[in-house]
Amino acid sequence: MKNLRRHSLPPEALDTADRAILNTLQEGFPLTPRPFDDAGATLGLTGAQLITRLQRLREIGAITRFGPFFDAEAMGGAFCLCALSVPEPDFDRIAALVNAHAEVAHNYARDHALNMWFVLATPTPEGIARTAHRIEAETGLTVWQFPKLREFFIGFRVTA
């Protein structure tokens, strides 16, 4: 998405109907032939009005995603959260070595003794171990692996 902003919108950017859309459609969107008409009906909007508002909300960066949310593991593939304890003077050099791997999906610097946290994504579970070993060989550091043992149901909702 081109407008993935990391800063707040001014409060006046959203009116009551916009906020109702953001709050309501987080809960789900119908799998029906005319889903915007159906979703709009509960919001007091026509399908066309709902579409126009969603286009604008997307343009101003108020929406991260609209559509199906896939379970990446159910689609095949393996994922693993990993962490390194990187000596501070070496931080940028090590970050470049880690990031050079296509298997590194994202990587964050964090304020802790384990100061570099990244996610490995590979087509097979063996790919995780292989990539972790390569990173260890290149950096001389231990790659601590924190695979997900269990994921809990998430009730996260943002109130617009």
Binding site: M1, R5, H7, S8, L9, L25, Q26, G28, F29, L31, T32, P33, R34, P35, F36, D37, L54, Q55, G61, I63, T64, R65, F66, G67, P68, F69, F70, D71, A74, M75, S85, A95, V98, V104, A105, H106, N107, Y108, A109, R110, D111, H112, L114, M116, W117, F118, A121, P123, Q145, K148, L149, R150, E151, F152, F153, I154, F156, R157, V158, A160
Partner: protein, 163 residues
């Protein structure tokens, strides 16, 4: 692991960037894939029933809505109650991810919960709420704020291939 056929993969590739904002979005996707609207709706509901699709919904950009502070809170709780406590933390409306992960020699924490708020103070208040919720079952906890994004790429199917 769920087996996906070629049509499933094409449907995933066609929708992973989002639904088209048109009156009949499923018919629009169907036309692109050479399927009928009923087939697309039926396949998507099957994928949802199988857990490949978690939900079809809108995700607000929580940064744009003022939730600009976030931290990875980590908790050391007794293994035998970790499942129950993880369920409790995940259900809170300010936790966007909650996982049970293994400990390591340099790492004592087994529950991970991403916390979001409008300020770091608000995030810390939420952390305090979780600590109160866990009570004596929590042996130690910490929170790791991100100081820099070093790399960020989406997790996507490439050209319809599994990855």
């Amino acid at each position: 692991m769920t087996r996906l056929d070629d049509t499933d993969r094409r449907l995933i590739a066609a929708t992973q960037a989002g639904l088209p904002l048109v009156q009949a979005p499923y018919a629009c996707i169907a036309a692109d894939l050479g399927l009928t609207e009923a087939q697309v709706i039926d396949r998507l509901s099957q994928l949802q029933a199988r857990g490949v699709i978690r939900r079809i919904a809108l995700a607000p950009n929580h940064y744009a809505l003022g939730m600009t502070a976030n931290g990875m809170s980590v908790w050391d709780v007794e293994d035998k109650v970790a499942g129950t406590l993880g369920e409790m933390i995940g259900a809170l409306d300010f936790v966007s991810h909650c996982y049970l992960r293994p400990r390591a020699p340099v790492w004592r924490y087994n529950l991970f919960a991403m916390l979001h708020g409008k300020s770091r103070t608000e995030v810390e208040n939420k952390r305090t709420r979780i600590r109160a919720l866990l009570g004596p079952a929590c042996l130690a906890d910490d929170i790791l704020y991100s100081t820099r994004i070093l790399k960020k790429t989406g997790l996507r199917l490439r050209d319809g291939q599994e990855r």
